[in-house]
């Protein structure tokens, strides 16, 4: 990665240091939650930030990943890495089907269609026997990585989650900066021109959609292994809203924005819950409104604009 700008290298180094150092200071379960959601937000950002498509239904892929991984680990006795992988595969297939439908429309319609399709997944999950209905899938074993490394301690599991996050993060970084990613950005800026240049725009959109869905599935599956639980919360529409919120707060279309957004939002949920109780939703809504009205670049976007360097 020779062409990586210095600013991004420094930011990446800082993130790496934080990831390595924080479990010695902070509650690992909390950190794992942050990493799972950071990956979720990064996946979501691929669509909104680099293709300009607002998916309001990413809970479907996150939740499906979570259910399938939980089921695979618990019922089929898969090792955690295979469980997460199977969650990702199912999320990708679902993303392929829904993406194929949704890219027929764009803009607001795209958002509404993805939301409605995700809600259909939610209703199916409510009824399907394998999801355990309202109880969810509980007591999911954390198992042994590759059948060898015991993950029952939070500390051991943390490193796996950190590795999963970093792999997903770097993968998307690679995608965005590949020729493929350049075409995506061209579509975002001017779809008509991309078409006229001979690009099969729909194919590009669909591939981006599937990648995003698959990574959301990885995030959901990892979360299921961490919390040993997969429930309807993972697949319901507020979860889609969380991905949007984290990305918006961190900075749409930036590389480091979504993880920062996830960190801020999860921290807020965790810490303010004891002080504000049920007012957390109201605060989240307020952040939404404030971001849209006055802070559309997000945290990292603002820093980026100040520095004049990409982050």
């Amino acid at each position: 990665m020779n062409a990586v700008p210095l600013s991004q290298r420094i930011a990446f180094a800082a993130m790496l240091v934080l990831i390595v150092a924080s479990p010695f200071v902070l509650y690992p379960v909390f950190l794992m939650k942050v990493l799972c959601f950071a990956l979720f937000a990064v996946a979501f950002n691929l669509l909104i930030g680099f293709v300009g498509l607002l998916s309001f239904g990413h809970a479907a892929y996150f939740g499906m990943g979570s259910y399938v991984s939980a089921h695979a680990a618990k019922v089929w006795g898969f090792t955690p890495e295979l469980a997460i992988l199977s969650g990702a595969v199912v999320a990708a297939l679902l993303g392929a089907a829904f993406g194929w439908l949704a890219i027929r429309r764009s803009g607001i319609y795209f958002a509404m269609i993805t939301l409605a399709l995700a809600q259909m997944v939610y209703f199916v999950c409510v009824q399907a026997p394998f999801t355990g209905g309202e109880d969810g899938i509980q007591a999911v074993p954390r198992g042994h990585l590759f059948g060898v490394v015991d993950l029952s301690s939070d500390f051991a599991l943390y490193w796996v989650v950190a590795a999963v996050f970093l792999a997903g993060f770097l993968f998307l970084y690679r995608v965005v900066h590949s020729p493929f990613g350049q075409v995506l950005k061209a579509i975002r800026e001017n779809e008509a021109r991309a078409v006229s240049l001979g690009y099969r725009v729909d194919d590009y959109k669909l591939i981006a959609f599937v990648l995003s869905a698959a990574l959301a599935g990885v995030a959901g599956g990892t979360k299921a292994i961490v919390f040993q639980l997969a429930t309807l919360t993972d697949v319901n529409w507020p979860m889609s809203g969380e991905a949007v919120l984290m990305t918006l707060v961190g900075g749409i279309g930036t590389i480091f924005g979504p993880p920062v957004g996830a960190l801020v939002i999860i921290t807020m949920q965790n810490e303010l819950a004891t002080i504000l109780g049920a007012w957390v939703t109201v605060v989240q809504g307020g952040i939404f409104v404030a971001c849209v009205l006055a802070f559309r670049r997000g945290i990292v976007g603002e820093i980026q604009a100040k520095l004049g360097k990409p982050l």
């Binding site: 009824q127 509980q138 921290t267 810490e271």
Partner: protein
């Protein structure tokens, strides 16, 4: 929460480093402070039958036990699980890991109870279930760390289900809340129905929580032409079903409603005019004897006038018995080893003003008689909350699932 942590929070919110709660920082606590967490429904459809009343009941148990005189302290924390297994288990995990909670009580909602059950065992703490109902807690999922106190789906089916079948209701249609509790209640009742020669004509699962309009489910029940519509739900769901069945004239066309888990707060919500004649199974009625009346007199003024339900009574009695066991093993040991306290609870006989004397079975099942009541007609009621008349007492032998049938691994056969 210390001031220091809040200032740190300000920094975090400002977008700087998240200086959140350190990993190993249980709040300042002496080795002789027992912390009890009331995990309950503070915002949704079980909030009247459990909710704040359960927190109060736990508090009253501590007051009556007077731990200060016995050399240790007790404090109570509470949280809302919103009827979501993930919220409940996250709370339980943080309580045990970070906040030094030693025992979790109440836990209405079987789904949440099962999730917390697992975590409690893993962390070797204690769970005392009052308003959770699934028999799995003393069956396939039983642990040496859990006591199931007040009622379960078997005791409800054995009471109301059996009584309905005996009265000629031999064909059933179930409207079932779609989670562990509803499924278990439906399954247990179905066993009694089929065992006595009855038939189940159909069943429908309703999303939980969040279903408020039951009319289309009731119409499905109507089209099945079953004699009895079994309501395998509770609290607000039950109230809505009964009201809407009235609206669609379902009872007027000769079908009977069977509420399988009815609390006195539900009867209060429906009003006697609508609820009269309902048969129900209860572990506790405030007006049953002097002990229950004395408790109720102290309880309801502090609980917005709501009289204690059996869930509240169970929280009180189980907390009281837990504290006795803590005293017996010593607070320090009790904090370190939840299973030891539960073992002591099973060893000691129970004695409290609400359930009288009793005992706890090896599988964690608390044993006491249950009662079959009928709801009074408005003209029979002589005062506020005077709602029930006793039909009969269900002896322990009939009320609970036999020890051998549960499949609990703690039971030596």
């Amino acid at each position: 929460m210390t001031l220091n942590r809040r200032t740190l929070l300000g920094t975090a919110a400002a977008g700087a480093l998240p200086l959140v709660t350190p990993m190993r920082a249980p709040r300042a606590q002496a080795g002789n402070t027992i912390r009890i967490g009331v995990l309950t429904d503070l915002s949704s459809l079980y909030t009247d039958l459990a909710g704040q009343g359960s927190v109060l009941a736990a508090r009253m148990a501590v007051e009556d036990f007077n731990p200060g005189a016995k050399g240790f302290n007790v404090d109570i924390v509470s949280a809302d699980h919103q009827n979501k297994a993930d919220v409940g288990s996250t709370t339980a995990r943080t309580w045990y890991d970070r906040d030094g909670v030693d025992a979790i009580v109440d836990v209405p909602n079987s789904g949440v109870a099962l999730a917390v059950n697992q975590i409690t065992r893993e962390k070797n703490k204690v769970m005392l279930v009052s308003a959770g109902a699934t028999t799995a807690l003393t069956g396939a999922s039983c642990t040496p760390n859990t006591i199931h106190w007040t009622y379960d789906t078997f005791s409800q089916a054995a009471g109301t289900g059996r009584a309905m079948v005996a009265a000629g209701g031999d064909s059933w249609f179930f409207i079932t809340a779609d989670y562990a509790f509803g499924h278990a209640l439906e399954a247990d009742t179905e066993k009694f129905v089929t065992a006595s020669g009855g038939r189940v004509l159909g069943k429908v699962r309703t999303p939980f929580p969040g279903t408020t309009d039951f009319s289309s489910f009731l119409l499905q029940a109507q089209s099945s032409r079953a004699k009895v519509i079994g309501l395998a739900n509770a609290g607000g769901d039950f109230i809505n079903c009964v009201k809407q069945a009235g609206e669609f004239g379902i009872t007027r066309r000769g079908q009977k409603l069977a509420g399988l888990l009815v609390f006195i707060t539900d009867v209060h919500g429906l009003g006697l005019q609508t609820a009269q004649g309902l048969t129900l199974t209860d572990a506790f009625y405030w007006d049953r004897n002097d002990g229950s009346r004395a408790f109720s007199e102290k309880f309801h003024p502090r609980n917005r006038g709501i009289r204690p339900t059996m869930a509240h009574a169970g929280v009180y009695a189980s907390t009281l018995h837990y504290l006795k066991a803590v005293e017996a093993v010593g607070a320090e040991k009790a904090k370190a080893d939840g299973a030891a306290v539960v073992a002591k609870m099973k060893e000691l006989r129970t004695a409290d003003p609400l359930f009288g004397e009793g005992e706890i079975r090896p599988d964690g099942r608390k044993l006491h008689p249950m009662f079959l009541y009928e709801v009074k007609a408005p003209n029979e009621s002589r005062g506020p909350w005077d709602y029930y008349k006793l039909i009969r007492e269900i002896p322990i032998a009939d009320a609970w699932r036999p020890l051998a049938e549960g499949g609990c691994s703690l039971v030596r056969t």
